[in-house]
């Protein structure tokens, strides 16, 4: 379960989140949307404990896998090492299967600097799925990815998370992304 109870957060004097409340049960999905600068990413950072609220209470799983708005991949190591770096040895088989399903077999030993923007985004998503947290946070996940790949990736994500009763939070300016994940919409 992920729950925000009257959560407020400000950067200095600027109030970003004011008394925000919502909750989703395990296995349910939520799309957070709103205009630029409304604090969507801040909500994500609060969920993943990268920020602490000024007031209010947040309930969320300890292990949350994140696809950041920027890819945050490591340049001098290859694709496969980027994906498997956070993993335990026992998770490597799952990573191999996911790598195949993403169609990355032929590029897994490429260096990150060689990939296109859309490819990099997919590597960042694959890393987050392979990590297998108790919930998944996707911040503008499909930037630069073509529509054909978007539905394929969304299917894999839902199988890996929702089929295991884990929740997904999607932060997106595009409300249509809610359909892909059968998600509730929270407009802030």
């Amino acid at each position: 379960m992920i729950k925000f109870d009257n959560v407020s957060f400000s950067y200095g004097d600027k109030m970003i989140i004011n008394n925000l409340s919502f909750s989703i049960k395990d296995g349910e999905n939520l799309l957070i949307t709103g205009p630029s600068g409304c604090g969507k990413t801040t909500v994500g950072r609060l969920v993943s404990r990268l920020l602490m609220p000024d007031s209010g209470r947040i309930t969320a799983p300890e292990n949350i896998s994140v696809v950041f708005q920027e890819n945050r991949l490591i340049n001098n190591i290859d694709v496969y090492k980027n994906i498997t770096l956070p993993l335990e040895k026992s998770q490597l088989d799952t990573a191999d299967i996911l790598t195949q399903q993403f169609g990355f077999e032929s590029i897994k030993h490429k260096s990150i600097s060689e990939l296109s923007g859309g490819m990099l985004r997919r590597v960042a998503i694959l890393r987050a799925i392979a990590f297998g947290g108790d919930a998944l946070l996707l911040d503008e996940p499909f930037n630069g990815i073509d529509s054909e790949n978007i539905s394929h990736i969304a299917k894999i994500i839902r199988r890996e998370y929702n089929d295991r009763a884990k929740s997904i939070i999607i932060i997106s300016h595009n409300k249509a992304d809610a359909e892909l994940f059968d998600a509730q919409i929270l407009e802030i």
């Binding site: 990268l50 896998s65 994140v66 001098n76 190591i77 770096l85 956070p86 030993h109 490429k110």
Partner: protein
Amino acid sequence: MPNKHIKKTLYVFLAIAFWFIVWEAASFLISDNLKLFLPSPIAVLRALSRLVTMLSFWHSVILTLLRIFLGFICGVTAGIIFGILTSSFKLSDIIISPAMRVIRAVPVVSFIILAYLFISVNYLPVFICFLMVMPLIWQTVHDGITNFDKDLTEMAKVFKIGGLKNLCFIKLTTISDEIISSMINGIGLAWKSGVASEVLCAPAISIGRNLYRAKGNISYDEVYAITLTIVILSIIIETLIKFSYRKKRKAEENNDKV
């Protein structure tokens, strides 16, 4: 691409030719009593061709190379270790960082004179190279880790990548280009300081001793010839480091294309 390469090589040759002409002209124009101190390039090349046929010359070149290389490797290793320590532990930073800054500020000659009291002349150049290279690498690693990319730090936190994994695969990997760039600067510094310490302390078989002896014998053509050897060796080693780094990068890129 090959045209570009030929053009670049041509420019290098043109630059060398230009400075040889300047040198030749200067040597020709100065008064006869100063000619001894500025021999012509031809005289220097003649002295060099004489030296390269002598086994003892190569013996000294190899031993000097070994001393400098050993000091350089120890300096790089210690610099990386100290850089990791000072950027990771406050106490290490308090204790080690001021010492590193002092080492950087102290003139190399002072170190040579002081170390001469405690260290055998054969190992003194190793120690001096080590002292010159270590703070350079330390600074790069220390700054690289201290000011490390906040986004990647957050990523490591979220994915619970800690300890050695974080250090080796995220931090050191990300700053590896800066470390290699410092190593290239460091090898030049190691040559200068290493040979200077050899000149001052004159280990039995060394380029520095040859240089000192040539100066004592007022064989300035030989002094220039030995200096030229040092410059050439320094350029070769620097080029080898750059080349092996580029080769490694190219191999990675080729792997990617398979």
